[in-house]
Amino acid sequence: MLELKNISYSVEDNGVKKDILKDISLTVDERFVVITGPNGSGKSTLAKIIAGIIKPTRGRIILDGEDITDLSVTDKAKAGISFAFQQPVRFKGITVKDLISLAAGKKISFTEACDYLSEVGLCARDYINREVNGSLSGGEMKRIEIAMILARSTKLSLFDEPEAGIDLWSFNSLTRVFENMHQSVKGNIMIISHQERILDIADKIVLLKDGRIRQIGTKEEIMPQILGATGYCPQIKE
């Protein structure tokens, strides 16, 4: 279980203080918690704070009762947090197999790699020795990013807009990945998404706006708010 207590984050932008996150308190103890909200509302910033990539200006982060606010990125990862980036990172010379092995924390066999890759719709034979460099498309990168999280199987997994760029692969497959992942890992899964199909599987939806939690609830409760929130166009859903 993850608890965020009064998380705030501010930066100095050209000498002007800018509040990016304002007093976020939230518990993640369900199977799927989906964070949604307009672009620029602070969703990725919140994920980076949980993963330790940026430090909150104020507030505490508690994982299974333990205060992990001041842990480094490495130690947060070791404590059981995984984070699939909105923009996956490319590496020269590092292969898909290398990355999945590093994620798993051990050398993995072809069969194991195949399990993770086929789950995200990639054929291990074609991908295992590919370099994770500019030769992979955005959609391929996103799937490999998800496969790494599967290989880590930690108690908390964060996904930042996992659906972006995944065009050919159906959203049904993506939601099934999350469901299978929950079955095998039994952890909590937090997904940042705008996708209605992903909102459908949420046990809890958190609507962020202007760095603040606007509402927490079920899809039925949140949908009218989402449609009313500025920055959302009901015509551009998929």
């Binding site: 490495t74 984070f83 980036f85």
Partner: protein, 307 residues
């Protein structure tokens, strides 16, 4: 042939050899011939006028290899060796050269190798060269390889060079002339640390119609080391030339890339790319989110980059 433990270790480092290789070979150790084998298609002859050998590969020789490793284990040894490769038309061979220096003393050890390749029409050559230095003496380990390549019509040569460890100073020069339809691919990997200095210079003349070259240098400069990458590609005909220098700088190291691409023909298409910078922060962070420490992440990124 008798080689001691140090020499055998060096052999393994520079030629991936565990003992004596199969096929044609010439092993040079501490300035003298330590072993040689020739085959029906590949002859190796000692030069009369200068120190070195001629490697003569008969036309049509396929799937054969030649190993010509050099090891220097005696501190203070300085040598210049001239090796000429005559590669017959239509042949397809792998040549593995390499030089390992173990300097346990205080005098500088220096190996300068001048390798010339005369590649016949339609021949294919893969040339692999590794440089490696070790030893705890204060004597410098110096290596200055020169490679001269002449590619005849429709021939193809791929050259892979690596200098990953232990060479204090290197001045590497590669000069090539490429005829019609021929292609030269060069992949170079260099890692320097301490106060090492590496200069690497390429000069490729694309003389033939539809000739091409792709030169890629990947390097990592750590600590107080310095690297300089100079590339000149001259397009004298309808041709394609591409050079790339991709370097990671760390600590107080310095890297410079000095390209010259020159089109002497309207159908010459030449590209130069150079990227020099520190390891991307987001790469470190991604690996740290997988549980690696910053140091471990750095090692993974560098070893992948130089793989």
């Amino acid at each position: 042939m008798t080689l001691d433990k140090i020499q055998l270790d060096l052999l393994e480092k520079v030629a991936d050899l565990h003992g004596v290789p199969s096929g044609a070979y010439n092993i040079r150790s501490n300035g003298t011939k330590a072993g040689r084998n020739t085959t029906a298609n590949i002859d190796i002859v000692t030069k009369e006028d200068v120190d070195g050998i001629d490697i003569i590969i008969k036309p049509g020789t396929k799937n054969e290899s030649v190993h010509i490793p050099v090891v220097l284990a005696e501190s203070g040894l300085q040598e210049t060796v001239y090796n000429d490769f005559h590669i017959g038309e239509n042949s397809d061979v792998v040549i593995v050269a390499g030089c390992g220096i173990h300097n346990g003393g205080d005098a500088a050890s220096r190996h300068s190798g001048v390798h010339r390749f005369f590649v016949g029409k339609n021949a294919r050559v893969k040339y692999i060269e590794k440089h490696y230095g070790e030893g705890d003496g204060r004597g410098e380990r110096i290596m200055n390889p020169t490679t001269v390549v002449e590619l005849a019509e429709n021939s193809y040569m791929e050259m892979e060079t690596a200098q990953i460890k232990g060479i204090d100073s290197t001045n590497r020069k590669t000069v090539a002339k490429i005829a019609d339809g021929a292609t030269l691919i060069i992949g170079e990997k260099i890692m320097t640390h301490g106060s090492q200095v590496a200069v690497t210079e390429f000069e490729v003349e694309l003389n033939g119609k539809d000739s091409s070259t792709h030169v890629v240098s990947r390097s990592v400069a750590k600590e107080d080391s310095q690297q300089k990458f100079i590339s000149r590609v001259y397009g004298n005909n309808a041709c394609n030339g591409h050079t790339e220098c991709d370097a990671i700088v760390m600590d107080n190291a310095k890297v410079s890339a000095i390209p010259e691409i020159k089109a002497n023909h309207t159908d010459a298409s030449l590209i130069h790319e150079a990227v020099i910078g520190k390891i991307a922060g987001e790469q470190l962070i991604k690996l740290m989110t997988l549980g690696l420490t910053e140091k471990e992440a750095e090692e993974q990124i560098i070893s992948g980059f130089l793989k």
